[in-house]
């Protein structure tokens, strides 16, 4: 099972780690008593740990390489065994119904704190599905997606502050503004591809945040906007608990709506055009697809969901400031899409739930949160680049014609 070469390599890795971490782990300087404490046993732990981990890593890599052809970029569409099982066995509908029931009774069973966390996760689901259109379907690497999220949130906050606009009007308006901003931000980047597109969109994300932070007269700057009203129900007053439950059901409705629309878009003329654009831009143009229009549509439709989710976010937290819309948010949303499975709706939902809920439930390990995050990302990308749930193309049925 283990060959000598791997063991030797792991041994050297372990020595190297021991050497590297020697100053940090072993030497402890006590400035108060002016002594130096040599903690030699730590180096042994580092050595043993790194040796074992290195062996495991090499074993997994070897298994992956033997297990099939090299995974090239784009060669990610093998559904996992779990996916196959769920789809083929008769369990599909019962699982769906069970999930539906669980979703419905969630706030009754769990505490207000848990429901609030779930609300956050659901907002990320919507945002992830929106980014999925841009990155997963159309293949446009957008690192500044948080800009549209900010547009949605601030539009509700500002319109409410200045004109007393009600939540229910702000929601579609947020979507519409997101759509418009998607087009505006899409125009300058039409000719860019790949890395350049990523950098320019990253720039746009930062521009929006800096404008919000510095244009005090317009957006109240870093102090943000507070007292944003929660969504009402025919003017009824809600307690905090009821309000959060209400928000939860609203979010679930929005998620279902998003899934419905994104599914339809994916399986339509536009959806196919986006995928063709992702696969090969020149060939797609040569086949009669207007590249400009398709890209703008992707940006605009993707941004719509971010706008609506932004309105929800503002209503949920009742206070927004530019610090919530940094590039780090963009990266998290991108991770949600990539980890979950680009182009796959179920994958993005799983990605959002895992990436948002897991840190919350692992609060005990909160010191190591970023470390775990990084390790998970690296492992996912090495062993399963297609994401948790990879997208599956639709299969068309044809009757065999006899004669």
């Amino acid at each position: 099972m283990l060959n000598l070469e791997e063991v030797k390599r792991s041994f050297f890795t372990c020595l190297w780690f021991m050497f590297l971490t020697f100053p940090i782990m072993v030497i402890k300087v006590d400035t108060i008593d002016e002594t130096v404490d040599w903690r030699w046993e730590r180096i042994l732990w580092v050595g043993a740990g790194s040796f074992v981990l290195s062996l495991i890593w090499r074993y997994l890599i070897r298994r992956k390489e033997l297990g099939g052809k090299e995974i090239e970029a784009g060669d990610e569409d093998t559904p996992s065994k779990f996916q196959e099982l769920v789809r083929k066995s008769g369990f599909y509908y019962p699982i769906l119904i069970a999930a539906g029931i669980f979703v419905l009774i969630f706030p009754q069973v769990f505490s207000m704190y848990q429901t609030n966390i779930m609300n956050t996760a659901l907002i990320y689901v919507v945002v992830g599905l929106g980014l999925n259109i841009v990155v997963g379907l159309a293949g446009l690497l957008d690192l500044g997606y948080v800009a549209f999220y900010a547009v949605g949130a601030y539009s509700y906050a500002l319109l409410n502050m200045h004109f007393g606009l009600n939540f229910w009007f702000a929601l579609p308006l947020g979507g519409l503004l997101g759509f418009l901003f998607g087009i505006i931000l899409g125009f300058p980047v039409l000719r860019l591809r790949g890395d350049y597109l990523a950098i320019v969109t990253l720039g746009f994300g930062e521009i929006i945040r800096l404008v919000l932070e510095n244009w005090n007269a317009f957006s109240k700057g870093p102090s943000g906007i507070a007292s944003i009203p929660r969504p009402g129900f025919f003017g009824m007053e809600f307690s905090i608990n009821q309000s959060i439950d209400y928000m939860y059901y609203l979010m679930v409705a929005l998620v279902i709506f998003t899934i419905f629309v994104v599914r339809r878009l994916q399986d339509s003329r536009i959806g196919r055009a986006w995928i063709a654009l992702r696969e090969d831009e020149i060939a797609c143009q040569a086949m009669g697809i207007d590249k400009t229009r398709t890209k703008l549509t992707a940006f605009a439709l993707g941004a719509t969901w971010a706008g609506m989710a932004g309105v929800m976010f503002a209503a949920k937290t009742t206070f927004i400031n530019p610090a919530s819309f940094t590039i780090w948010e963009s990266i998290i949303i991108l991770c949600v899409v990539v980890l979950g499975g680009m182009g796959s709706i179920v994958g993005v939902i799983c990605g959002a739930l895992i990436l948002i809920l897991l840190p919350e439930y692992l609060r005990a390990l909160s010191e190591y949160r970023m470390l775990i995050f990084g390790v998970v990302l690296v492992c996912m990308m090495v062993f399963r680049p297609g994401g948790i749930v990879s997208s599956v193309r639709r299969v068309y049925k044809f009757e065999k014609e006899d004669g």
């Binding site: 339509s268 003329r269 196919r272 063709a276 696969e279 090969d280 086949m287 009669g288 549509t297």
Partner: protein
């Protein structure tokens, strides 16, 4: 007979490099025209110029669709606009949509002949649904004509090489062109596959009434298929005419075909 594609004085400069030099070419309705020449002569550049990927420095590219619409100058139009007007192409290096199924690749070809927009996609009204059904039927019919229907739900990247080349042709045909531009369709094919390609191209011309302009290096295929041949070298046309004339043209032989006793592929 009037030419359906009329290129006059086409010149393409890349900085100081003149890739095409006052090139003239025409294709008449229902013709199969071959464009041959050594590598680097500018044949693919020519295709790129007339399909809108490059904007030519000088010259005129005129099309006269047999279905009507008079004479159109297509210089400087974007590639998708050229395809909408009825000229479709295949690529020298296969440019299929690898992670889409064979059927979907052909359905992409139908994109420019469909009308559904965002509202249609989301609402799925009756018109959109009918259009989608029709597109699936039409695409499958094209696959049957080309002989690829057994691969219908396979990913394009998993197809054997010859099938991928034919899929490119099927995809181009789905755009309902009046003129099909084939860029080295027989590259990498063995004798049997080339023979099948020969029959396929003739079938396309006969049944779909599509004219063909092809770039090819396989002389046997060129001589057997073409009605007329244009020969290029260093961006210029050095000869044109029927296959027999070209075969015996000394300039062509010197530049491209090679001496008689070493080139036995030229023998009919």
């Amino acid at each position: 007979m009037e030419a359906i594609l009329d290129v006059t004085g086409l010149t393409m400069d890349f900085g100081g490099l003149r890739a095409l030099d006052a090139l003239d070419l025409d294709v008449r309705s229902q013709e199969i025209v071959a464009l041959i020449g050594p590598n680097g002569a500018g044949k693919t550049t020519f295709f790129n110029c007339i399909t809108g990927i490059y904007k030519p420095t000088k010259g005129d590219v005129l099309i006269r669709p047999p279905a009507g619409g008079g004479e159109l100058r297509i210089n400087g139009l974007k590639p998708n606009q050229v395809t909408e007007r009825g000229m479709a192409r295949t690529f020298q290096n296969i440019r299929l949509f690898q992670n889409m199924t064979v059927l979907e690749n052909v359905m992409i070809g139908r994109h420019c002949r469909m009308h559904a927009g965002i509202t249609g996609a989301v609402m799925r009204n009756a018109a959109t649904r009918a259009e989608e059904k029709q597109v699936v039927r039409d695409s499958y019919a094209i696959l049957e004509k080309i002989g690829l229907q057994q691969y219908v739900n396979d990913f394009a990247k998993n197809l054997p090489y010859g099938a991928q080349r034919r899929l490119e042709i099927a995809r181009a045909m789905a755009t309902e062109p009046f003129l099909l531009l084939l860029d080295e369709p027989a590259a990498g094919m063995n004798a049997q596959e080339t023979k099948e390609l020969d029959e396929l191209i003739l079938k396309i011309r006969a049944e779909e009434h599509i004219s063909i302009l092809l770039i090819e290096h396989d002389m046997k295929l060129v001589m057997s298929l073409s009605d007329r041949i244009f020969v290029m070298d260093y961006g210029r046309r050095i000869a044109q005419g029927a296959p027999e004339e070209i075969r015996n043209n000394p300039e062509v032989v010197k530049a491209y075909l090679g001496e008689e006793d070493t080139e036995d592929a030229v023998e009919a």
